[in-house]
């Protein structure tokens, strides 16, 4: 069982890295092409892939910690982060206060900020992904030779979603390791 889970875990991690690579490739392709050459399509697909790379990394972290928290679709994950994750951290923060442990109190409060930040990244990514896939009328705006925008979000910013998310996930995992002891 453990080994099957291990393979699954590695597989997911690989998917996430590959998806980020694909996104980056699409980003460069969109910047290289002309409007007659379908740069809009490449551009919107880049946003879509950056979102999925981010979503998968956050979902994987939640699954490792509390499997039932990750069984929700895209719409629910931000709510799990804002409600369930924050609630658990807050309870442990209180427990830490009771035994006079300032360290765990700090780790949990960092974790709470991280959970909220992750929820915002997911909301932003989800909204942009919906626009990319379902609102072809909203065109990608090529603002310079290095950047393009979809509904006010630049691809440079979308590019930062996965690494930003993995930073905040690390903060969450650090608090979770203490809680799970």
């Amino acid at each position: 069982m453990a080994s099957i889970f291990g393979i699954f875990h590695t597989y997911k991690l690989r998917i996430q890295i590959l998806m980020e690579l694909v996104a980056h490739h699409l980003e460069n392709e969109a910047l290289r092409r002309s409007s007659a050459d379908g740069r809009d399509q490449f551009g919107r697909s880049a946003f879509n892939r950056y979102y999925y790379a981010t979503f998968i990394s956050i979902q994987r972290a939640l699954r490792n910690h509390r499997p039932h928290w990750s069984n929700n679709g895209h719409a629910k994950l931000p709510r799990v982060l804002r409600d369930d994750v924050v609630k658990e951290l807050r309870a442990n923060c209180d427990k830490g206060k009771k035994v006079g442990d300032r360290e765990i109190t700090r780790l949990c409060s960092d974790g709470i900020s991280a959970a909220k930040a992750l929820a915002s990244i997911l909301d932003e990514g989800y909204a942009i992904r919906v626009i990319a896939d379902y609102f072809p009328d909203i065109a990608v705006d090529f603002v310079s030779t290095k950047d393009f925008k979809l509904n006010a979000i630049t691809v440079t910013h979308a590019h930062s979603w996965p690494s930003r998310a993995s930073g905040f996930v690390a903060i969450l995992e650090r608090a979770w390791r203490q809680i799970n002891a």
Binding site: D101, S120, A127, N151, G167, A170, R177
Partner: protein
């Protein structure tokens, strides 16, 4: 339920500057509103979170569930300038850096390339503080995504509860197996000593440790499969006691 068009009109009337169009989710009733935020001379966010919170509440009374997404070009610009500056000076230590700020207080998240000591940490902090002060932001905290992995007192107490009576050596092995790092020398002994002096644990005649009643109460318990009482019983059974 308000349409995207009605939402846009209402938000315009409230004076909230939108960036792009309002989007409704597919498998959710949430509508996402991108808001262009700017900073006034005191670095306060405009529109403020209070105004946004009120707007959200007013619209929810009319049946709309909205989520504001802030588009903050200034913050992104400051963050990327700070990242470039720090990477230039601490190329060996810093992989990535993120800034989030509220009001005048900035929080920094650093993804390190390697573990670094206090002297480097101080140099990094100074550099960040100087940079941020130039744009009117006060440094509030720096958090590293890796490197800090010592067991907290709460984690130690949880493990002692599970394993009691437990010797220092056994506790150390157990904590390491759970992914914690334990500094060499007598770090753990000093930690145990301080917990004993503050009445969190007792040292038994044979040199092993157990929780005091006060700590047991403070840690509490939960119902269900993950209950510490059950895992404790199972641990005892496994030991054959």
């Amino acid at each position: 339920m308000l349409s995207e068009h009605e939402l846009t009109i209402s938000l315009n009337e409230m004076g909230i500057p939108l960036a792009g169009v309002v989007i409704s989710g597919l498998e959710t009733d949430v509508s996402f509103v991108f808001v262009r935020v700017t900073r006034d001379r005191d670095n306060a966010q405009r529109p403020s979170n209070l105004i946004l919170h009120d707007a959200k509440k007013k619209l929810s009374e009319r049946g709309a569930n909205i989520e504001f997404l802030l588009v903050d070009d200034d913050a992104q610009e400051i963050e990327s300038a700070l990242r470039a500056t720090l990477r230039r000076s601490f190329d060996k230590e810093i992989r990535n850096l993120f800034l989030s700020w509220e009001g005048k207080k900035g929080k920094i998240l650093i993804e390190p390339k390697c573990a670094y000591g206090e002297d480097v940490e101080d140099a990094i902090r100074d550099k960040i503080r100087i940079f941020l002060s130039q744009v009117g932001i006060e440094l509030c905290s720096i958090v590293r995504t890796a490197g800090e992995n010592l067991p907290t007192m709460l984690a130690c107490l949880s493990r002692i509860r599970h394993l009691a009576p437990v010797t220092e050596q056994l506790l150390k092995t157990d904590l390491i197996s759970r992914g914690f790092s334990i500094p060499p020398d007598d770090w753990l002994r000093r930690r145990l000593d301080s917990m004993r002096r503050s009445g969190r644990i007792v040292r038994l005649a044979n040199g092993s440790y157990a929780l005091t009643l006060g700590s047991l109460r403070a840690l509490g318990t939960i119902k269900g499969r993950a209950s510490p009482d059950i895992t404790r019983m199972l641990a005892l059974a496994r030991r054959g006691e």
